[in-house]
């Protein structure tokens, strides 16, 4: 350490404790001691996040740590004839250079299907596949040394189209089935979901068809993949890492290292966003391998370019849809083929296919449904989880079809949707009966009734004062209103909450109640990843409500407690929230037993509230802290939602999903028809959340999710050419800025789901599903163009590309 350095230890050893906050918080019970469920309680990690003290994975620092880097394949598909690490290893400052030969356990890993090499063995299947690792004193020394590794490649022709990979007609590659290389031993099909409901040959008065294309979206979380692996004295390893599911990481790391779970201990480091991109392993095993090999702490941090190669993306899709309806607009049937490009490795493709298929027609009642959804292996970048997970792709198609059908029937798009809207008691295309509120029609009518933005200043012949910043093109001064038209579009969507199709979807919570410094304090310990969504706040709120205490400490997230499942599928408030609630109930039961024992009598109707023990009949019995004394009550609960079941392999019928969440959007868009530039003027949403545990956080999820859907609709696409990513940077991959995202009116409905804790419904994903289709609908309404591809590009509007 040089003179100026500060002492910094490894992170998250200090539990996150709530700090007192000044009153006057808008939209919350300001200054109130009771910040339980339903209050917009502040984040326990808020102050460290605004002061810069919060330790993200990339901030970790240990005395004596060294830096790891990854050598990646420049080719989408190639065989490795040989790898020479000699020149790299001889570089001064380098401690280790590792290849697949140094992986002591399983050479392959995977979330659902074990098919992905920790380090390439003899073949690479995508550009960016990890081949070798280097550890050195300085990250730049490691990077320079990695360039000295000599790989003898036999470059192969990549398979870059999902339908070609499956040997189907219409693939961009055009090859016949027999000519396509099998990228994996089992062939190129990851999953085919067949869904058959009702009459196989339905007849309708009006039929509309369309083919739709969805580009590859990146999660673009801002905190890069990073972590610190620390070798332990017992031959194991401690890994501090930014992830979405510690235990599924642990399982895969154990497999690769050949170590038992008690030797591979994970702690969640600060996570700078996730959105699905941290479900798969990135640097986890690599850093552990280097740490165990060198005996030193090893830090790995991807830069932005490497991040584009270091995590899975949203599956691009090609979809053919046919909708049939009666003249009055009642839907008769939907037939669809959905092709999802899974890229080089399976990741979560099977589940994405399941969602795209089972939710493929949107939140509408359709008696006859035939859907075939396919996930394919190609040599494109691996695709997996991203917010909306399969439903996003399908929604672009089914919502475009609904508008097309409305046009064919001469009906208003909102009226057509309302006429066919799902409601409680409706059947999903899986035959599953929707057994909790599904206020689809109400959401659509409410979003349509929200105030419209003021008319554009340029609209009345340019009489008003024009502010360039309100126009497509902005201060680039591309128009003063000439050639600009405005459109309004609507969309509705739904999404399953939680893991589906028979997955054992549980969470574990350990809750402790004790008296510290004269105050009753609860500690909540789960392994549920806080990725920014505010789960740590929700955990505190639930403990406050259930135990009547204010002070709740959130224990660092680690594998010392049982699995909480993934922070994905909009599931943590439901499932980990449910586990925390159940653990608190057991703790409360224990506390009340202790209290009655101490009182020497049984008191009827006891509960805990406001730090007091209260009886329904006797009123306040006493202070919780005083009555609890030195008793410590701790309970650990493994909690499950009601089971789901696999769907029938021939028909796709079954109770596949535990809960559905619904949203509806209205978008207003100004389009410069001469240049193809867009300005989203308003993006309003109505969503049912069952019960808003933290209203401010719920609205934040809806706004943020809406913006991500907007990105896919109008600007975000990983551009692939010959299997290679052409735009792996924030210079060339554009995400919405504060200039792009419009004001959003959000209306939150609370129709409780009787099956869920507190009646709550998952929140995070639906807005990402319905916002994009509403925007594209608005652009269609403005221009009259069909627009069958997202993101919509300027040349789609001008007709020049």
């Amino acid at each position: 350490m040089s003179d100026g350095q500060k002492e910094r230890g490894p992170v998250l050893t200090v539990p996150v404790r709530p700090r007192p906050r000044p009153g006057g918080v808008p939209g919350s019970e300001a200054g109130a001691r009771d910040e339980g469920i339903g209050a917009s309680a502040g984040r326990p990690d808020g102050i460290p996040k605004v002061t810069g003290e919060f330790q993200y994975a990339s901030d970790l620092w240990l005395d004596g740590m060294i830096w790891g880097v990854t050598l990646r394949s420049p080719h989408p598909y190639a065989r490795i004839r040989s790898v020479d690490i000699g020149p790299a290893l001889a570089t001064p400052g380098v401690s280790a250079v590792l290849t697949h030969e140094d992986v002591p356990g399983s050479k392959l890993y995977g979330l659902e299907i074990v098919d992905q090499p920790v380090l390439a063995v003899d073949t690479v299947r995508y550009q960016g596949e990890p081949v070798a690792l280097v550890a050195a004193d300085h990250p730049e020394i490691a990077r320079q040394a990695a360039k000295k590794i000599v790989v003898d490649w036999e470059v192969l022709e990549p398979v870059t189209d999902a339908r070609t990979a499956l040997g189907l007609d219409g693939g961009a590659g055009g090859g016949a089935a027999g000519e396509v290389p099998r990228l994996h031993p089992g062939g190129n099909l990851v999953r085919h979901l067949r869904l058959r409901k009702g009459d196989p040959d339905p007849v309708a008065d009006v039929v509309v068809t369309g083919e739709y294309h969805v580009g590859m979206q990146d999660q673009a979380f801002l905190g890069p993949e990073s972590g610190l692996a620390v070798p332990a004295e017992d031959g194991g390893v401690e890994l501090y890492v930014a992830t979405q599911w510690l235990h599924v990481d642990q399982r895969q790391i154990c497999g690769a290292l050949g170590l038992p779970p008690d030797k591979v201990r994970l702690t969640l480091a600060g996570v700078g966003g996730a959105f699905g991109g941290r479900e798969d392993l990135s640097m986890h095993v690599h850093a552990c391998l280097l740490a165990l090999h060198t005996g030193k702490p090893v830090k790995m941090v991807y830069n932005r370019e490497e991040s584009f190669f270091g995590h899975v993306h949203r599956h691009p899709a090609v979809m053919r849809f046919e909708h049939g309806a009666r003249r009055d607009g009642t839907l008769v049937y939907v037939k669809a083929q959905i092709y999802l490009d899974g890229g080089a490795y399976a990741s979560s493709t099977p589940a994405v296919v399941g969602n795209a298929g089972t939710m493929g027609i949107g939140p509408y009642v359709v008696p006859h449904v035939q859907i075939d959804a396919f996930g394919a292996y190609t040599n494109n970048p691996p695709c997996g989880a991203m917010r909306g997970f399969g439903s996003v792709q399908a929604a672009f198609a089914h919502e475009a079809q609904m508008d097309r059908l409305a046009g064919a029937l001469g009906l208003d798009p909102v009226e057509l949707r309302c006429r066919n809207a799902m409601a409680q008691g409706s059947q999903a295309p899986t035959g599953q009966v929707i057994d909790s509120p599904a206020p689809v029609e109400e959401m659509l009518r409410r979003v349509a009734a929200l105030p419209m933005p003021p008319p554009a200043a340029w609209a009345n012949g340019g009489a008003g004062a024009v502010d360039l910043r309100d126009l497509p093109g902005g201060v680039a001064n591309t128009t003063h209103g000439e050639g600009v038209v405005r459109g309004v579009g609507y969309a509705a969507a739904y999404k399953n909450v939680g893991f589906s199709e028979g997955f054992d979807d549980y969470s574990t919570a350990r809750v402790r109640l004790e008296v510290l410094a004269g105050e009753a304090v609860a500690t909540v310990h789960t392994a549920a990843a806080e990725v920014g969504q505010g789960l740590v706040t929700v955990e505190q709120q639930i403990a406050r409500t259930e135990l009547g205490v204010h002070q709740v400490t959130v224990h660092p997230k680690d594998t010392a407690v049982g699995s909480a499942g993934s922070s994905s599928a909009s599931r943590q408030t439901y499932v980990t929230g449910g586990a925390v609630k159940a653990a608190c109930e057991k703790v409360r039961e224990g506390a009340l037993a202790v209290i009655q024992r101490r009182l020497g009598r049984s008191v009827p109707g006891l509960r805990l509230a406001g730090g007091k023990v209260i009886s329904d009949t006797e009123g306040v019995v006493g202070e919780l802290a005083g009555l609890l004394g030195d008793e410590v009550i701790e309970e650990t609960v493994e909690w499950r939602h009601r089971p789901t079941y696999p769907v029938d392999p021939e028909t796709g019928q079954g109770f596949a999903h535990v809960q559905y969440a619904f949203s509806a959007h209205r978008a207003v868009v100004d389009v410069d028809t001469e240049l193809g530039l867009l300005k989203v003027v308003a993006l309003d949403c109505v969503q049912d959340v069952g019960k808003a545990i933290n209203p401010q956080a719920v609205v934040g999820q809806i706004q943020g999710g809406s913006a991500q859907g907007m990105g896919l609709a109008v600007m975000e696409e990983i551009q692939i050419s010959g299997g290679k990513i052409r735009n792996p940077s924030f210079t060339d991959y554009l995400i919405p800025t504060i200039l792009d995202v419009p004001p959003m009116q959000i209306e939150v409905l609370e129709y409780p789901d009787p099956h869920a804790p507190y009646g709550l419904r998952g929140v995070g994903e639906p807005p990402t599903i319905s916002s994009g289709p509403a925007i594209v609908a608005a652009v269609r309404a403005a221009t009259g163009l069909p627009l069958n591809q997202i993101p919509v590009r300027p040349e789609h509007i001008t007709g020049t590309g």
Partner: protein
């Protein structure tokens, strides 16, 4: 090389700095100020925004050597002791912080804006923060946070 500069009012010095290092690396890895963030390291995201001699800069685009003898102020230097700066408190109150990775850069940029411009209109806030990407919030609550901070500052000024 040896670099001496001032960070948040305190003199700092680092030895053996490689010429290719950025001010961001110097701050984060050598001087113990990891608050400025490393989201893109090419000047696109604004998460490493700092004051350099009072002017906003992306620390990732400034060579460490260029900081020699200069004054750097980071997110760690916005609060006064335990008292948060107006923008910090307002971001918390408005719910403008989710994952928080963009927050340090946005706070420095917003701090600069309301320091220069006491009552910014929405269009001015958007323009000032256009170089700061956020992936979680959709920016609505960030706008709320800046409006709230500006309003509180104005209230305070009225009371004086």
């Amino acid at each position: 090389m040896r670099i001496s500069c001032t960070v948040n009012g305190e003199p700092q010095q680092a030895d053996d700095v490689w010429e290719g290092e950025s001010l961001l690396y110097l701050l984060r890895e050598r001087l113990g100020f990891p608050g400025s963030k490393n989201a893109c390291e090419q000047g696109e995201c604004g998460s490493c925004t700092v004051y350099l001699d009072g002017v906003l800069a992306c620390a990732c685009l400034v060579a460490a050597g260029q900081a020699q003898g200069r004054d750097v102020r980071t997110v760690e230097g916005l609060a006064t002791g335990d008292e948060l700066a107006a923008v910090q408190q307002a971001f918390l109150d408005a719910g403008a912080v989710q994952c928080g990775f963009c927050t340090p850069g946005l706070l420095v940029a917003a701090h600069d804006l309301i320091g220069r411009h006491p009552g910014p209109a929405d269009a001015e806030i958007r323009e000032a923060l256009a170089g700061n990407l956020c992936r979680c919030t959709g920016y609505e609550k960030i706008l709320d946070g800046v409006r709230l901070a500006a309003a509180r500052r104005a209230d305070k000024a009225d009371q004086l």
